[in-house]
Each structure stands twice: as C-alpha cells, then as structure tokens.
C-alpha cells in the first residue's frame, strides 16, 4: 500500500506542541494497510480518509485475534528532539505540556466530546471500512448482526423451547378446541425439562450461567455512580444500564474462554457513553451495536489480561506487572529500589501486584475520570508500539510523576497513594510516557 503523507496539520504547528520538525518514523510493525492520515482531533474535521480496502468486519463474533485489526492511518509523528540529556529526568522539571499525541492512528477510541464524531473511533478500532461512503452500510449491517445475536442469546429457556416447538408441530389448534377434559400429555424432546441436569439441556445451561449474569447485573448497577448517565433512577439511566447489561451478556456468551471478569463493565462504559452522545445524531441509534463490536475488538487486544489460565504465563497479567517493574527499574532505579527494596514490610514490598493490577486490567479506567480516560485510550490505541507496551509506559510514567511523594513515604503511605492515584494532568503523564519510549524490555 502506498503511504501518502500529509503535510503537518495546522494544529500541530500551534505553540502548544513541540516546534521541532517532525521526524518520520517507519510505521508498520504490523503488516496492515496504511492510509492517508486522518486528523481527527480538533478543529474542523479533515476530509475523510481516502478509501483503502475496507477492513473485513469482525464477524462472526471476534473470537480469534483478527488479523484485520488495524487499518493504519499512517502519518507523521512529531518526535522528540533526540538531543535531550537523559539523566536527571529533565522532563519533570519542564513545564507540563500537551503530550505529543501520536498522530499515527491505528485503532483508537476517540477523545471526548470536543472531538469529531464517533466515526473516528469506529474507524480506529478497525470497525469501519475506511471508505467513508461505506459507513452507513456498515452500520446497518452491524446493527442487523447485533440484533440477531440478541435474539439468539438473550432468550430464556422457556422461549427457546417454545421456538423449538413452533418449528415442530402446531398443537395449538388442538389446545384451543379442547374445552373440557383431561389435558393431553406430550413427550419431551431431548430430555429438556427445567430440572434437567444434563449438559445439553437448555435449562441447565441457563442456570449455570445465572451466576455470571448476577455478577454482571451487580457490576452494571455500580458503574460510574457519579454519572447520571449510568446511575440513578431516571429512565435514561435504566435504559443505559440495560444496554450495558445486554452487551456484557452477549459478550460473555460468545467468549466462554474468558467469560465475564469483573472490570469489563468499566471498559464498556466509556465506549457506550461516547457512542451514545455522538454529535452526529444518526449514529447514536446504533450505539449499542457499535459499542458491542468495538468493545469486543478492544478486548481482543487485551484478551490475555483476562484469561485466568494465562495469569502466570509469559503473556498473562503477572508478566505484565513484572515488565512494569523492570521498566521502572530501567528508567528510575532510585524509585524502584525505594519501592521494592527499602520499604519492605517483612516480605511485602510495594510491588506492582498490589497497585498495578487494576491499572492494567481495566486500562486505567478507575484511576481517572471519563474524559481523561478517553484521552489516555486514544493515545494507547494509536501508538505504533502497541497498546500493551504503551499501557506499561503510561503506568511507569504515573509512578515517576509522583516519585517525590513516593520516595518520602513508607510502605503504607505509598500503597495508599498508589491505590488512590491523585488527580494529575493527563497531558503531563502522557508526555512522560512518551519520553520513556525506547527498546522494549526483555
């Protein structure tokens, strides 16, 4: 694919950003198609990206890691000047500025409300084909798919059995005629009765999933209690909660390997919020279907974090936390030593397991408010190094940002601080994270 470069967009030239000339970085680590850059951040929406081959929609349910993932909207990236002195962490002394957003979009969730419409996100999550004209069609198609999924998976067993019979014989005529008399008994097919203990029974599966469904219910009710959009008694909140519930249930049923893990609701919530409040009214109606598919894509990337069996393996969440530790050690040895060695309490040190688990598994949703989170996700997903690496870098940056307080605190104070991360300027964090870029830790 030909990568057409666009000249530096206006907004990049503003004094907020680094004024150094942009450095061109070879884009793909992934063999995907590249595109003309789409500058989705503010001001006027740029012309839609030129049509490349549309990325195949993630169907059927994105169980496997779809290779079609990112449609790279290649672009330039303003790189940091390389001549910066590395020790003494000079970036901390610099004035915090807006982070160098990687204009290198691959897949991303969009940055909040002041940004252009939802299409950019859907694009970025590889959800939309890159041809602008196909979007409407795609939306329709996805909506149908979603409705079908709802139909298939959200039924309770009574309805399922009824449907199975309806396709069989029609005995309803007889029932209507029978006014008086002994009711006729009919055979049950396939041993499917409510108390059945057999694995193939619809009822049995229903009861086994009931526990997970209860968990989903509870989590949905607790999503974002500070936002009226989700919480409270208003009918809007209720419908939104219902939508979230449905999305999570369908996802759970389609992915029996990872099922439902507490925290997934945190990831769906901002997606749904953004799609629902879409500036362009038409897209809002498709919000639920879109959220579902984008959520599935997103989780696909981070799938390994949620799989229990992989917890202790090389790709699981334990190893991620190990990597975080190594990253911190590499960039800020003093802090690392302080956290892991000096402030030990018996054999408990302030290791990533204690605070970073939540950071990594829920993609930092709980540490920041909604708008900040979306900003982070944007960066996360548009980084050429890959979302996993970027996430670790951001976590490392968060640690480095509060290093003064950490160095001054003991085990308990540090733990408290890290588990209730203080409000900080997101741009600053991202800025630092950017600086931490480098050869990946082995």
């Amino acid at each position: 694919m030909v990568m057409k470069k666009k000249s530096v967009p206006e907004w990049l030239n503003s004094p907020l950003w680094y004024s150094k000339p942009p450095d061109d970085r070879p884009i793909s680590h992934y063999n995907t198609k590249t595109l003309r850059p789409d500058s989705s951040p503010p001001p006027p929406p740029s012309p839609p990206p030129s049509p490349p081959p549309p990325s195949p929609p993630p169907s059927p349910p994105p169980l496997s890691k779809s290779p079609s993932l990112p449609a790279l909207l290649g672009s330039e990236r303003s790189d940091l000047p390389s001549g910066e002195p590395s020790p003494c962490r000079p970036w901390l002394e610099e004035e915090p500025r807006d982070s160098e957003l990687l204009v290198d979009f691959r897949i991303t969730v969009r940055v909040t409300l002041h940004v252009v419409a939802a299409p950019s996100e859907q694009l970025l999550l590889g959800y939309f084909p890159l041809d602008h004209t196909l979007w409407a069609l795609e939306l329709e198609k996805k909506m149908k798919q979603y409705n079908k999924l709802k139909d298939d998976l959200l039924l309770n067993p009574s309805e399922i059995t009824r449907r199975m019979e309806a396709s069989a014989a029609t005995k309803t005529e007889e029932l209507a005629n029978e006014n008086i008399g002994l009711l006729s008994r009919s055979e049950i097919k396939h041993e499917d009765h409510p108390l059945s203990l057999s694995k193939t029974s619809v009822w049995n599966q229903y009861f086994q999933e009931a526990e997970i469904l209860e968990q989903i219910d509870r989590d949905v009710k607790r999503t974002h209690p500070e936002m009226d959009f989700f919480c409270g008694d208003s009918p809007i909140a209720k419908t939104n909660q219902e939508a979230l519930r449905r999305i999570l249930i369908i996802f759970t049923k389609l992915n029996p390997s990872i099922k439902y893990v507490q925290g997934m609701h945190e990831v769906v919530a901002p997606l749904f919020y953004v799609f629902r409040n879409d500036l362009d009214g038409t897209n809002a109606t498709f919000a639920e279907a879109d959220t579902f598919f984008c959520f599935a894509e997103l989780l696909n990337i981070f799938r390994d974090n949620f799989c229990k069996q992989l917890d202790n393996s090389v790709v699981g969440i334990q190893s991620k936390m190990e990597k975080l530790s190594q990253l911190l050690k590499r960039h800020d040895e003093e802090l690392w030593r302080h956290l892991e060695v000096i402030t030990k309490v018996i054999y408990l040190q302030v290791s990533p397991q204690l605070y970073a688990f939540r950071w990594i598994s829920i993609l930092l949703m709980r540490e920041f408010n909604l708008t900040e989170c979306l900003h982070i996700w944007d960066v996360l997903l548009s980084d050429p190094e890959g979302p996993q690496e970027t996430l670790l870098r951001i976590c490392c940056a968060m640690l480095i940002l509060v290093r003064r307080r950490l160095l001054a605190g003991d085990f308990i104070a540090n733990l408290k601080l890290l588990q209730n991360f203080p409000n900080t300027n997101i741009s600053h964090i991202l800025h630092i994270a950017n600086k931490l870029r480098g050869p990946t830790v082995d």
């Binding site: 067993p157 005995k171 029932l175 006014n179 002994l182 009711l183 006729s184 009919s186 049950i188 409510p194």
Partner: protein, 190 residues
C-alpha cells in the same frame, strides 16, 4: 419465566421414608421460585427441606399433618395467573372433578392444585385447570396401594403455562409436559 413446584402427600415418616433418590437429585435449590405443597408432609423436617429448596413455600393442611397451623386453602397470584391450593380431603367425593370445579369457582382461581388422591391428574374445565401432583414419595393412599411417585413443575411465562410432570415409573424418571394458555374465554365472568 417463573418456575413453580407443585408437590405433596409425602407422608414422611409414616408411609414413606424419603423422597426417591432420583427426585432428590433433581430438586436442587436455586432453580425454583415458588413451591405449592398440597399437604400431608407430615413432619417439620420435611417442611425444613422444602424451605431449603425455595424460600417461598406455601402449604395447606392435610389430615395427617402434625403442624396444625397450616391453612385449609390458599390463593396466590403468580404473573398473570391466580393459583389456588387445597389438600383435597375436604372435598367429597375425593377427587371428583365437579366438586373440585366448585372449589375452584369459590376460590376464583385459574389453576387449582389439590392432592389427596395420590394420582397425577391435569384436567381442564370452563372455570380453569385442576392439577393434582400426586404423591412425591409414592406413599399408599386411602384409595389405593398402587401409586407412582410424581410431582409437577409449572413454568409460568406470561399467559402460557407449561406443566412438566415428573413420574417415577419402574425406577426411571419420566418427564412429560402439558401446555396450556390462558385465553379470554377461560376467564369466566367473575
């Protein structure tokens, strides 16, 4: 989708020691939302057991029940249906459908659950449906010794009820089902 268990005439410990094992393995807590018990349990332990299956338990008094506080009749509404419960030894002749229909009109219910005869029956007349879950332990009755253990599970879903009949025949559990709808016609002018 509400699951209602109709069970009764266990006669534990006088005429039977316990429920058949195959029934017991199927009756696990967490699946059933209501239990309608026709009576003749007879002792408190059986009451506790049923209570453990489902907290919403309704019992009417059978002639051999040791707890005298159970009512003679009970009515409740589940979904769109009104259900009535009565042991049945009060209705003479025992098991006579016309007399039971009288009771049904009296209680003004769509589905009447009675027992005492230890024989499963599901009968429809203009006033509604009468269901007799039989005896869950297969205890002998005042009428006959030849009794198959049986009970009934109703799945109430809107205006439709699916009645699953569980019977133990020759040591095997046999499940049948009966389907009926509540239409405007069956609702007599009350």
């Amino acid at each position: 989708m509400v699951l209602v268990l109709a069970i009764g005439d266990l006669h534990i410990p006088h005429r039977a020691a316990d429920l058949p094992l195959k029934f017991k393995s199927m009756l696990v807590p967490g699946k059933i939302q209501h239990i309608l018990c026709t009576g003749n349990l007879c002792i408190k332990e059986v009451h506790e057991y049923l209570k453990s299956l489902c907290p919403d338990l309704h019992i009417t008094r059978g002639e051999y029940d040791e707890d005298a506080r159970y009512p003679e009749n009970k009515t409740l509404t589940i979904g769109q249906f009104k259900l009535g419960l009565c042991h049945g030894h009060q209705i003479v002749p025992w098991g006579d459908l016309d007399s039971l229909a009288m009771l049904q009109r009296q209680l003004d219910v769509d589905i009447l659950v009675t027992g005492h005869t230890h024989q499963f029956k599901a009968y429809k007349h203009e006033g509604g449906v009468v269901i007799n879950p039989g005896s869950a332990t297969g205890a002998y009755s005042s009428i006959t010794y030849d009794v198959n253990p049986s009970f009934v599970l109703m799945d109430i879903d809107g205006l439709r009820v699916v009645v699953y009949v569980y019977e133990l025949i020759d040591g095997e559990v046999k499940v049948d089902k009966i389907d009926f709808k509540k239409t405007a016609a069956t609702q007599s002018a009350h």
